[in-house]
C-alpha cells in the first residue's frame, strides 16, 4: 500500500526519535462540532482499551448539532485518560491538547498542564477564525503561551489535502478526513497501533472506496508526519495496565443501562417493554434497546414523556418488565404517572440520566441535581426506592439489582445515572450470562374457568412478608380486579377514602420501601474505620472522590470514603458509620442535595463540596477540600 503513504513511500525521520515510557496520559481532542472530534476520541479509546490500558473518557459537546462554525459555542471536545494502572477518572489536567481551531484553543487551553504538549492546526488560525474566538492577535505568536507549553504548529489542513489529493474529492470532502490526520499524528506520538482504526475505516465506509482511501491516507499521513518531522523528537509508550484477568470490552453508561435491562428481563423470564421519548443524554438507551428485538424487547417511542411513563404503567400491569428512561425535564413530566406507579404498586424502572438544570438547563452537561426530585418530586407521601450507578460498567449490574428490587417489592424504582456516566466509557469485564443471578417473579395463578367461587375473593392488596402485594396479571382466570390512582382499601384494594385507612396505606407504602434496607448490601468504607474525616459521595463522582481519597491516604491523611449506590433507602448501617468520624464531607455536583438528606436524617454537621459547572470533579478539587477540612 505504498501508494497511500504520503510524504515518501518509506519515510525517514529527520532526526533520530526517542521513545519514553509514561505511566498515564490524558489527551484531549477539540475542534468545531463538525470536526469529528468525538469520532477520533472514540477511536483512540478503542485502540488503547484493546491494547490493554485502563481507560476513562469524557466527551464534551455543545447542545447544538452544528453551532456556528468556528465559534466558542461550537467547540466539541473528547478527553481520555489511558493508563498502565487502575484509573477512575478521565484526568484532571490534560497532557496533550489537540486544537483544530482558535475557538477550541481558547476554551480548552486553561486545562492543559504547564509544559504539556499542544498541537494546533495552524491553517485554521486565520483572521476570521481568530476574530470569532475573540483573539485580537494570534495566540500562536504569544510569547507567554510559547514559553508555557511544547507547541507544535502543524499546517494540518494543507498537509491533509496533499495526502488525499488525486482522489477526485471536493475540497470539502478532502477536509472531512482532517480529523484522521490529527489522530494519526497522535497515534505516532503515543506509539499506538493503527490497524484497528484502519479496519474500522474499511468497514464503516465499505460502500465508498474513495472515502476509505482518503481516510486511510489521512491517518497514515498524520502518523508519518509525526515520524518524519523535526518538530516531534520524542514519542511515548504507555504499557498495559494490570487489570484483573478476564475478557474485557469498552462500555458506555447508556449501553450498560440498556444491556442491564435486557439481561434483567431475561433473568426474570420476562419480556421487556421500554416506553420512552427522545431526550439528551438518555436517547442512546432507546436506540440500543430498539436494536435488540430478537431479545423480545418492545420499544415504544411515545408522543411525549407523559405517555412514555403511562405506557410503562400499562405494560407493568400487563406483566412486563416495564421501563422508561429520560432526563430531568422529562422526569418532571413523568411525575404524575410515577405517582400512579406508587399507588398501584406495580414494578417498573425509571432511569434518569441527569443533566444540568433547572428547565432545559445544560442538555449535554452532567450534574447530580435530581436527587431530591427523585425523592420528593411527586404529590403526596410517595416513596420510591432510588439507586445510583457509580460508573459506566456499574450501570449493568446495578440495573439487574434495580429490576430485582422492583419485582420483589412491587414498586417503581428510580435508577440514577448522569451525563458523565452515560456518555463516558471504561473497560468492562464481560460477565458470563449463566453466572448472573436469576430474578424470581411470582404471579398468582388463577383458578380454572369452571371452578366455583366468586371472583371477588382475590385480594390484590394483601401483602407478603416484604410488604409487597401480589402481581396478578390480566389473562389469569378468576383474578379479575381493578386498580387505579384513588386510595385503596388495605387488603381488598377497593376505593377507600376513610381517614384511618389512608393513614395506614401511606405508612404501608413508606414502610415497604424503608424495609428494603434489610435486603440491600451494607455500606462499605474505604480507609480507616473511624477517624477524622469521612467523605460520602454518590453516583458519577465515584472516580474523582475515590482517587482523591487514595491519594490522601497515601500521604498519610486520616480520611475514609463511603460511596453510596443505594440512595433510598440508605444502607441500614450508614447512620452508624457517619457517627464514627469527627467530620463528614459530601462532594456533589449540585448545591447540596445529599447533604440536606444526610444532615436531616442523621443529625450530623456534614459539609458540602459543591460544583455546579456541568463538569465532573477534578481529583485535585477534592484533595484540596480534604486538606482544608483536616487542617481546620
Amino acid at each position: 500500500m505504498s501508494s497511500t503513504d504520503v510524504l515518501s513511500p518509506e519515510p525517514t525521520p529527520a532526526a533520530p526519535k526517542r521513545r519514553e515510557e509514561r505511566d498515564s496520559v490524558v489527551i484531549r481532542f477539540c475542534g468545531d462540532s463538525g470536526d469529528g472530534m468525538q469520532l477520533v476520541g472514540t477511536q483512540f479509546t478503542n485502540v488503547s482499551a484493546s491494547f490493554g490500558n485502563d481507560v476513562s473518557t469524557l466527551p464534551d459537546f455543545p447542545a447544538e448539532i452544528r453551532a456556528p462554525q468556528g465559534t466558542l459555542a461550537g467547540v466539541s471536545g473528547f478527553q481520555l485518560n489511558f493508563s498502565s494502572h487502575d484509573i477512575f477518572t478521565p484526568g484532571d489536567e490534560v497532557d496533550t491538547l489537540v486544537a483544530m481551531n482558535p475557538a477550541a484553543l481558547k476554551t480548552n487551553l486553561p486545562d492543559l498542564k504547564r509544559g504539556g504538549t499542544l498541537i494546533v492546526n495552524t491553517d485554521e488560525f486565520d483572521k476570521g477564525n481568530l476574530q470569532k474566538a475573540g483573539y485580537a492577535t494570534s495566540p500562536l505568536e504569544d510569547g507567554d503561551i510559547l514559553s508555557k507549553y511544547q507547541i507544535h504548529k502543524v499546517a494540518m489542513t494543507r498537509l491533509n489535502r496533499d495526502a488525499v489529493s488525486g482522489l477526485g474529492l471536493s475540497m470539502k470532502d478532502q477536509d472531512r478526513s482532517r480529523n484522521l490526520f490529527a489522530l494519526g499524528l497522535v497515534y505516532w506520538l503515543y506509539d499506538r497501533d493503527r490497524t484497528p482504526t484502519e479496519q474500522w475505516i474499511q468497514d464503516k465506509f465499505k460502500k465508498k472506496p474513495d472515502v476509505v482511501e482518503a481516510n486511510l491516507r489521512a491517518l497514515r499521513g498524520g502518523f508519518n508526519y509525526g515520524f518524519s518531522t523535526e518538530s516531534f523528537t520524542t514519542h511515548y509508550a504507555v504499557p498495559k495496565a494490570k487489570l484483573s484477568s478476564g475478557e474485557y470490552r469498552k462500555i458506555t453508561g447508556n449501553e450498560a443501562v440498556a444491556w442491564g435491562l435486557a439481561a434483567a428481563a431475561r433473568l426474570a423470564g420476562k419480556s421487556l417493554f421500554f416506553g420512552g421519548y427522545p431526550i439528551t443524554p438518555a436517547s442512546d438507551i432507546l436506540h440500543t434497546l430498539s436494536e435488540l428485538k430478537n431479545f423480545g424487547i418492545r420499544t415504544f417511542q411515545a408522543e411525549d414523556e407523559i405517555a412514555a411513563m403511562a405506557s410503562v404503567c400499562g405494560a407493568a400491569f400487563a406483566g412486563e418488565i416495564a421501563v422508561t428512561a429520560s432526563s430531568g425535564p422529562g422526569i418532571c413530566l413523568k411525575g404524575e404517572a410515577m405517582g400512579l406507579g406508587v399507588m398501584t404498586e406495580l414494578p417498573m424502572i425509571i432511569v434518569n440520566v441527569q443533566r444540568g438544570g433547572p428547565s432545559t438547563g445544560l442538555p449535554t452537561k452532567t450534574e447530580q441535581s435530581d436527587l431530591l426530585l427523585s425523592f420528593y418530586g411527586r404529590n403526596g407521601d410517595s416513596p420510591i426506592p432510588i439507586v445510583a450507578a457509580s460508573s459506566p460498567g456499574d450501570c449493568f449490574h446495578l440495573m439487574i439489582e434495580a429490576v430485582r428490587m422492583a419485582v420483589d417489592f412491587m414498586t417503581p424504582v428510580v435508577f440514577l445515572s448522569d451525563g458523565y456516566i452515560a456518555n463516558g466509557s471504561e473497560p468492562w469485564s464481560i460477565p458470563k450470562f449463566a453466572d448472573l443471578k436469576p430474578i424470581e417473579v411470582k404471579h398468582p395463578s388463577g383458578r380454572p374457568a369452571d371452578a366455583e367461587g366468586t371472583a371477588d375473593d382475590f385480594l390484590p392488596y394483601l401483602r407478603n412478608e416484604k410488604g409487597a402485594r401480589p402481581w396478578a396479571i390480566p389473562g389469569t382466570p378468576g383474578l379479575e380486579h381493578r386498580i387505579g390512582g384513588l386510595e385503596k382499601a388495605d387488603i381488598t384494594g377497593n376505593v377507600d377514602y376513610s381517614a384511618n385507612n389512608h393513614h395506614k396505606m401511606v405508612m404501608n407504602r413508606i414502610n415497604k420501601v424503608a424495609g428494603i434496607a434489610n435486603h440491600i448490601p451494607l455500606q462499605t468504607v474505604e480507609g480507616p474505620e473511624s477517624g477524622k474525616l469521612l467523605i460520602i459521595s454518590w453516583g458519577g463522582t465515584f472516580g474523582a472522590v475515590r482517587t482523591a481519597v487514595q491519594q490522601s491516604l497515601k500521604n498519610g491523611k486520616s480520611v475514609a470514603h463511603a460511596h453510596l449506590r443505594y440512595m433510598n433507602p440508605f444502607p441500614k448501617n450508614l447512620g452508624e458509620i457517619v457517627k464514627r468520624y469527627e467530620k463528614v464531607l459530601i462532594p456533589e455536583l449540585n448545591a447540596g442535595q445529599l447533604s440536606l438528606l444526610i444532615r436531616g436524617k442523621f443529625l450530623v454537621d456534614a459539609q458540602g463540596l459543591n460544583k455546579i459547572q456541568g463538569k465532573p470533579f477534578l481529583v485535585s478539587e477534592v484533595v484540596r477540600k480534604i486538606d482544608e477540612m483536616l487542617e481546620s
Binding site: G246, E303, V312
Partner: protein
Amino acid sequence: MTATLPVLTPKDFASDQEIRWCPRCGDYSILAQMKKVLPTLGIPKENFVFVSGIGCSSRFPYYVDTYGFHSIHGRAPAIATGIKTSRPDLQVWVITGDGDALSIGGNHLMHMLRRNVNLKVILFNNQIYGLTKGQYSPTSPVGVKTKSSPYGSVDNALSPLCYAIGSEATFVARAIDVDIKHLTMVLERAAQHQGTAFVEVYQDCNVFNHDAFLYATDKSVKGDHILYLEHGKPLTFGQTVKKGIRLNGATPEVVELGKGISEDDLLFHDEKSADPSLAFLLSRFKHPVFPEPLGIFRNVVAPVYDDQVNKQLEAEVAKKGQGDFDKLFHSGDTWIVE
C-alpha cells in the same frame, strides 16, 4: 385456548362495587349495553381489560368485573397502548369523556388514533365537566353559562369525530345513551374492528347539563335532528316529511324527497371508503343546520400498531434466533487480560 368457552351472561360482568353515578345518569345505559355486548364476543372474561382516565365516565372499570385500570387524567390511551402492545392477546377498552380525551388527553388521543392501536375507545360526551361540578368542556357550545363561564363560554367547541377522522382513525362511530339497540350495535361493531375503534356516545349529564341532547332524544322532534347511517344506503331522515342529504358541488344540503327529487339524487353512505372525506363531511353536520348522523362513519382496514410491533419481533427472532447475551456482550472489540 380451551376448546369450549364457558357461557357468559351480563351478570358475569357485574362487579361487586356500588355504582356511584348520579341517579338517571346516562352512564348507566352505556354500562348496561356494554355488559350485554361483552358475553357475546367469544372472549374469555379474564382477557378483557378496561382502562380509563379521570372523570365521571372513568369510574366505569370499577363496575365491570374484568381486569381494570382507573388511571390518571387524559392518559388512558397511553396506558392502554402499553398494555395492548405488550399483550396482544387481551381485548382492551378505553373509557373516557370529553374533558379527559379532548382537553387534557388530546395529544394521547391523536397518537393512539394515528398509530391504529387495537383498542376500543368509548368517549362519553356530555359537553360538561361533571366530576368537578360543572365547568364548560372542549365540546361545550359557545355561549354556554357554567360555573367557570358565568358570562357565557367564548371557547370554540370541538367535534370529537372531526378530531378522530383528522387523526387518521380507522373506525369512527356515534351513538346516543338512550337509543339502546343502536348503541349495542355500535359497541358490537367497535369490538369487531381491527385497529382503534373510536365511538362517541352522546350522554346526558342530568345534574350539570341536563337535556343538552334533547333535540336528538325527544321523540316528538328527533326525527328531524338525527340521521341513522347505513352502509350503502342514501342519507335520509325526517320526522314527518322524508328528507335527505344531497351534494351541491362539494357542499351538502338538506332536500325534501318528492317533487322531482328521488333517493338516487342523494348522497349514499360508504363507511368503507378509503378516502375519509365523506366521513369528515358527515362529522361536520351540526344541529340545527343539519341532522346529526348516528352510526358508523368510517370503518376501514389498515395496519394495526401492536400487530406490526410484534411482527417485527417475530421476524427478528426468525432471522437472528433468540437473542444470545454472551454473543451480544462479545460483539465488537474485546480483549483478554491474562
